[in-house]
Amino acid sequence: MTWEMVCGLEVHAELATRSKLFCACATAFGAAPNTQTCPVCLGMPGTLPRLNRRAVELALRTGLALSCSVTQPSLFERKQYFYPDTPKAYQTSQFAAPLCRDGALVFTQNGVRQQVRIHDIHLEEDAGKLFHPPAQPCTQIDYNRSGVPLIEVVTEPDLRSPEEAVAFLEALRETLLFLGVSDGKMQEGSMRADVNVSLRPRGSDTLYPRVEMKNISSFKAVQRAIAFEAARQTEILQSGGKIHPETRRWDDAAGTSTAMRAKGSAHDYRYFPDPDLPPLKVASAWLEEIRAQTPELAAAKRSRYQAELGLSAYDAAMLTTAPQIAALFEQALPLCPDAKELSNLILGDVLRLMNESGTPADRLRLSPADLASVARLILAGSINRATAQQVLDRVFLDGIDPETYVRENGLAMVDDEAAVQQAVDDVLRQHPQSVADYRAGKTKALRFLVGQTMKRMQGRANPKTVNQLLLKALEALL
C-alpha cells in the first residue's frame, strides 16, 4: 500500500498597517511591553471595536491578487476560548462568511508551474504574547500585539510534498511583500504557518483524518515538520493503526512533534456573528480602485525585465529578491536608461554592500538618483569600475553625492595618454621579471603589470588606455 501525503496550510500574516485592527494603537514591532495598548485592545468593559479601513484594503488587495471572489457581505465572528493572551476571551475573526474566497496562487517550483487553490482569506486580530521568565513562577503577558490585524490565508489540501509546501510559502511570501501587504518575516512572527497533514492510499480522492501542527517558525521547519509527520503517520498506518484528528506541537530543535496538552480535541469555539460589527459590504467603486492600484507582482516584473529590458533570467531574479530592490532599479531607470549597467551595479555592488553592512532590504536607504548618477559616470567614461565601487561605497554608507565626490576627490579617469605612457614605461622598467614572464607566455603577468600601472596612476587611468599602451609597449620589447 503506497500512501500519498495530502497537506494544507493556514498562513497568518500581519498586515502592514500603522494601527491595529480595531483601535488606533501602533503596530510597530519591538516596543517596550504594554506601551502600545488601549482600553479597546485590552478588552476593557464598555469598549467597542472600530474597524481599520486600511486593514480591509490590504486584505482585499491580497484576495484580488489571488483571484478570489469578495463575499458580500462578510461577517465578523467571535471565536471563543479562554487564554491569557486573548483579552476579550474571544478572538474577533471571520468564519461562515470570510472576506475573500475561492482563489489560487500560481507559482513555479523548479521550473514547473504549480497552482494551489485558496479556500479563503479572512481578517482577524492577533493575540498578545506570553513570556515565561525562567526564574519566576509566573507568566507575563505583553498586549502590544493584541489586536494587530492579520489575514489568514487558508489553502485547500492541494500540497503533495514538503518541498511543494515550502515553494508555496515562498511564493506567498513574495506575493505579500510585493503587494505591500505584509513584511513576511517568519522570524519576527509577522508570518506564521500551521500545517495540516493527512495520508491516503494513492489513487484515492477522499480526505482522511488530518493532524494539525503548530509552532513552526521558519520555512525549513515547515519542510521538516511535514516530512516528520508524514513519516509518523505512515508508520502508524502501516502497522494497522488509525490516525485521529488532533493538534500537535512541532519542536524544531528536537525534530519531533508532540500531542498538545488538553487544548481539546476539536475545540468547540462556539462561533457566532459579532454583534458589535455590522456586516461588511465593500463598495464596488472601492474594489475597482484597489484593483487598479495593485502593485506589480515579482513574477510579472521578472517577465518584463527580460522581455522589455533584455536582462537575463538570473539578473531579473536577483533584482526581484525584494520589492525595495526592484523599486530602486525601476526608479533609477528613467534617470539612466541602461538597464544592464544599473543591474550590474545593483547585483555587483549594492547587494554586496547590503550583505556586508547587514542592511535588510526594507532599510535600504540608497537613492535611485544617486545610483543612476554613478551608472551615468561609468557610461560616460568619467570613472572606471574600480572607482565606481569606491564611490558607491561612500554613497551607500555616507550618503554623499556621487558627482560632487568624484570631482572633489579628483577621481575622474585620467585620459592623459602621456601620463599613462610614462607610468607604463616606469612599470616595465621596474618589473623586468614580469616582462620576461609575459614573453614566456604567462598571461597572469599582464594582469599584474596592469595592476601596477593603475596603482601608479592612483587608480584613475582608463583601463582601456592602460591595456592598449601596455600591450603596445610589450610588443615593442619583443
Partner: protein
Amino acid sequence: MEKSDTGIQSCATRIRDLHPAEAVRQSLRAIQQTEPHLHAFPWVLPADAIPTVEGGALAGVPFAADDRICTSFAPTTAASKMLAACTPPYTATAVQRLQAAGAVCVGKLNMDEFSMGHTTASSSFGQTANPWDCTRVPGGSAAAAAVVSGMVPAALASDTSGALRQSCALCGASGIRPTYGAVSRHGLVATAPSMDQIGVVARSIEDCALLLSHVAGHDPHDPTSARGETVDDTAALQTGGLSGLRIGIPAAAFGGDLDSETGDRIMQSARVWEAQGATLHDCALPGLEHAAAACYAIACVEANSSLARYDGIRYGYRAPEASSLHELYTRSRSHGFGAAVKRRLLLGALLLTDAYRSRYYQQALQVRQNIRQAFAQAFSHCDLLLLPCAPGTAPRAGGEEDPAATHRAERYTAPVSLAGLPAAALPCGFAKNGMPIGMQLVGKPFGERALIRAAHAFQTQTDFHRQRPEIEGRTQA
C-alpha cells in the same frame, strides 16, 4: 402623595437665577436624606468635588447614571463583585454629552448584577427599595426610584431586555428606551450587545425628550450607532391634538398572566388618546408569546460571550492563591459572579454548543426574525403600539429567587428589545395597593418623535407622573 413639578427644564431655568451649583447641592442633600431609606446609590459625588459649571443648555442640572455606564470619575462595577472598586479610564459617550451640555453627574445607580434580574436583589451593593413602599422592589434599575423620590431629576439607565422600562412602571417614573443604535453604546458595559441600549429616565416625557436630544446621535466610537437618523424630539412636544394618530393595541399582549387591574388601567388610558383625536386599532403580534424565551436565550448567549473577559488578569476580581491558570479562571469567575449571573453564563455557553445550537439558539434567532416582521406588519397600519410594561405592580422584596420570574417580568419589554424598537414607559394610574401602574408605548424604528408626542400628550391630560411618594421617616428637601 405630594405634587411637584421640578422638571429638568424648570430646573435649568431656575439655575440661572441661583448659584450654578445650587441645584447640584440640593440634589446631594436630597440624596443624603433619602438614601438611608432607598439604598439606590453605590456612589455619590462628594460635596467638595462639585465641578465648576461653565454653561450649556443643561447647565447645573444634576443627573445620575447606572452602574453599567462607565465614568472615569467614579467606580463602575455593574453591581458585581467582579468589578468591585474598578474605575474605568474613560467615560461613556452618553455621559460626556450630558456633561458637555453642563449637566453634573451626582451619582451612580444600583441595578441587578450585570442587569440580570428584575429586582436589584442580586446587586453586590444590596437591594434598593421602591419609594412608594419600601418593602417592595423598585424593578431592575434604581434609576426610576431615584428620580421619583426627588433625589435627581434625570438619569441614564441601561435597558437590555427591559430593566429601565419595567422599573419606570413599578415606580411611576417616565422613561424612554431609544431605537437600537440611536444612542451610543460606547462606555456601556456590554451584556447582550445586540440589545443593549442606554435610555433616559425622568419625571416626565418632556424631560426625557430633552435628555434624549442631547445624548442621541451617531458616535464614531460605536460602529452600531446609526448615522444620519435624527431623533430630535423636543420638536415633538408641541401639543395640538392627535388626530390621524393610529394606536394599535395587540390583544395577545393583554389577558393571560397580566394582572387584571393593570390591564384595565392601561385600556382606560388609551381613551385619553382617543379623546385627543387618535384612533385605537386592534392589531396582531403573532409570536409574541415566544419572544421572552427567545430574548432570554439570545441574551444568555451574548452575555456568556461579553462576560468571558472577566478573569481577574487585567482588572477586576482575582481569586487569591490560584495555583494554575485553570484555577485562576474558575475561582475568579466562580467567586466574582453571583448565582443569577453564573446561571445565565452556563446556559449561554450550553446553547451555543454544537449539540444545542440549532435547537435553541438558531430557533431563538428565527423567533427574533418573526417578531421583527410581526411588528413591521403591525406598523403598516398603526403608528404606535400600546403594550403593558410590567406584569403587575411591584412585588415584595426578599422573595424566593426564581429564574423564571425575571423571564415573566420581561414578557412585555423583551419583544421590543428583540426588534430594536423605541419605547416609552409612563405611569397611567395607581393600583388599589397604592403602587404605580405603568404602560409601554412602542414606536417605529427611529420614530421617537411620534412616541414622544403621544406620550407627552397623555401627560398634559393626566397627572400620574406628577405624583410623589412620601417616604416614611424622610423630611422633604
